[in-house]
């Protein structure tokens, strides 16, 4: 890690999020404080129902919070109106999902080009950049394949290329290896690790998969809506 890691990409303070009302109200996040720094890969772990995905959605600005504040790259995201938040998300964040969520009718290259098309980049330019990105994730020979013709690992690599194609500074990953076998999961995490090493980006990964814990820089444990501990992960060869 470099000195840049001390620059907080995400600063969350006192986040409370509840679902439902009255007697059926459930508070999922109970006052979360969390800083995530540029140049790091943060693992968000914990038991099921502990609030990991809710926290991830709140940080991404796709879920309104009841209390607290979230600043992303210096922008008070939780205070932005919905349309500005959507635009900000499109310009600064990339998403990787457990189930890939690729559009089945689009080829790999077209799927990767989608975030650029949303940002109104011309189709030819978007496809050109998508092809470059697919080459980077090792799928240069699968550009014109439909998702159904790709393996799970290949589909997740397409999803990573899609998440990275508009060069987001914040990469948000929800169980990216859950649908993959061991070796494919390792390859995916190597790719994400590489992205996380960049000094102007950070990666947040929600996971249950203990086989990939060593790819993280820090690991935050979320239990019953609270962060119980944040530990720095020691890797072989690190100082």
């Amino acid at each position: 890690m470099t000195d840049n890691t001390q620059l907080a990409a995400v600063r969350a303070r006192g986040i409370v999020k509840s679902f439902g009302t009255g007697d059926t109200q459930i508070t999922v996040l109970k006052g979360i404080d969390l800083d995530i720094y540029l140049g790091e890969l943060l693992l968000l772990v914990g038991e099921s129902g502990g609030g990991k995905t809710t926290l991830l959605s709140a940080i991404a600005g796709i879920l309104d919070i009841n209390e607290g504040s979230i600043d992303v790259l210096g922008v008070p995201l939780s205070a932005l109106p919905a349309n500005k938040r959507t635009r900000f998300r499109g310009q600064t964040m990339g998403f990787i999902y457990q189930q890939f969520n690729l559009l089945p009718a689009l080829t790999a290259a077209e799927n990767v080009a989608v975030p650029l098309l949303i940002q109104k980049v011309g189709r030819a330019e978007a496809l050109r950049r998508a092809r470059v990105m697919l080459n980077r994730v090792g799928l240069g020979d699968r550009m014109d394949f439909l998702p159904k013709s790709l393996s799970g690992g290949q589909q997740q690599r397409v999803a990573i290329a899609r998440a990275l194609v508009n060069e987001p500074r914040l990469l948000i990953c929800d169980e990216p290896t859950a649908a993959l076998d061991g070796p494919n999961g390792q390859k995916i995490m190597e790719l994400l690790r590489e992205v996380g090493r960049s000094s102007d980006r950070c990666v947040i990964v929600v996971t249950h998969d203990s086989r990939i814990f060593h790819f993280g820089d820090r690991m935050a444990n979320l239990t019953d809506g609270r962060i119980t501990n944040i530990e720095r992960i020691q890797r072989e060869g690190s100082a």
Partner: protein, 376 residues
């Protein structure tokens, strides 16, 4: 994102074809039924349009063209005396029975035209010369008379038959628009028509007239009404009066209206449901697009583009099929089929309503979709 929207639409072939079939069926049904309906309406006023005269003068209480209310023979001169009338001629119209030489009887519509001008004569003659109607005992029949009375071997130029025990000789065959009742039309001169029919105190059916050049037809009609106490109508108004009577006094309007409405509802139901299913099945993908920064407006535009694309494809195919149907069934004049541009425009508007409605259901669903749902 238009490209993505179209790829999504065409990528799900089963859904696309189901949507296309639904909308095609809907358009075809509406166009086909609408064209037949409009064709029937045109047939209902064929006895007006076949004569092609600008002003019809008759009894003021007349309901429709086939309901003849005889006038006094002086009515012609009274109309002629109205300021602004260029000409006015008598017309006889009545139903008679023709007896062929083979003993068959056929009901015919006798149309008597003023012999000096033959105003009201059909524009097109298929065989013979219309002017020969001035010869003794001469009549002209329309092509439907040939068809209804036994075909060209039985009725042709030179054929002789009896009308009320009086001789009639066919000198020409004219082409006319088929009428609603499909009773063959026999033309002769006004004077001879009066001789063919049993004697009545009043035998003048209509006075046909024209306004002088430069004088508005409506003004002349008002003057005729005011000065003669008779009813006067433009050709168009008399046609409307006739088909309004048909709509009111037959089940045609309700019958065709119900079918057209059913086509509209079935089209809307199929398109709406299929589109909604299409959206539900792609909900995670749409959620992912929202998370990636696509606004609800962008997604709504994508849905509308998909709906209108499949809608216009269905419109084209549906009209094509309806036209082929019309060509195959109506080219011989057996079925009324009038596919007008007004009808096609109306169907296009109906289709756009269906597509907008279908898209709207999906758009409401997408507007309520939380992008966070993709993480669940």
């Amino acid at each position: 994102m238009n490209y993505v929207a179209l790829k999504m639409l065409f990528g799900d072939r089963a859904k696309y074809l189901m949507l296309l079939c639904g909308l095609t069926f809907c358009v075809m049904l509406i166009v086909q039924q609408g064209s037949i309906f409009w064709g029937l309406m045109m047939w209902s006023q064929a006895n007006i349009s076949n004569l092609n005269v600008p002003i019809w003068v008759t009894d003021p209480g007349i309901a429709q063209v086939d309901e003849v209310k005889p006038l006094a023979s002086t009515a012609v001169d009274r109309v002629r005396s109205v300021d602004g009338v260029e000409w006015a001629v008598p017309l006889y119209r009545g139903v008679l029975r023709a007896r062929l030489t083979n003993g068959d009887y056929h009901q015919i519509t006798m149309t008597g035209l003023e012999s000096a001008t033959l105003i009201g004569r059909p524009a097109e003659v298929l065989e013979g010369r219309f002017e020969d109607i001035l010869q003794p005992d001469a009549v002209v029949v329309d092509q439907w008379a040939v068809e209804r009375m036994g075909g060209p071997t039985v009725v042709r130029v030179g054929t002789i038959f009896e009308l009320n025990d009086k001789l009639a000789r066919v000198v020409a065959i004219a082409k006319t628009q088929k009428s609603f009742t499909n009773i063959p039309v026999v033309y002769t001169t006004y004077e001879r028509a009066i001789r063919y029919v049993p004697h009545e105190r009043r035998s003048l059916s209509y006075v046909l007239a024209k306004a002088k050049d430069g004088i508005p037809v409506e003004d002349v009609i008002h003057r005729i009404r005011a000065e003669t106490g008779l009813g006067a109508f433009t050709e168009e108004d008399f046609g409307i009066k006739t088909y309004m009577w048909v709509l009111k006094n037959t089940g045609i309007g309700i019958n065709f209206g119900t079918t057209i409405l059913l086509g509209f509802i079935v089209g809307m139901a199929i398109a709406g449901q299929t589109f909604y299913l299409f959206t539900i099945e792609n909900l995670r993908q749409f959620g992912a697009l929202k998370a990636m920064g696509a606004s609800t407006f962008t997604l709504a535009r994508m849905i509308l583009l998909q709906a209108f694309t499949v809608g216009l494809a269905g419109y084209g195919v549906g009209i094509g099929l309806a036209t082929v149907f019309g060509y195959l069934t109506a080219s011989g004049g057996q079925l009324p089929f009038a596919e007008t541009w007004q009808l096609l425009l109306l169907v296009l508007v109906a289709l756009l309503v269906i597509c907008t409605f279908s898209a709207l259901i999906s758009i409401i669903k997408l507007a309520r979709l939380e992008p966070a749902s993709v993480f669940r």
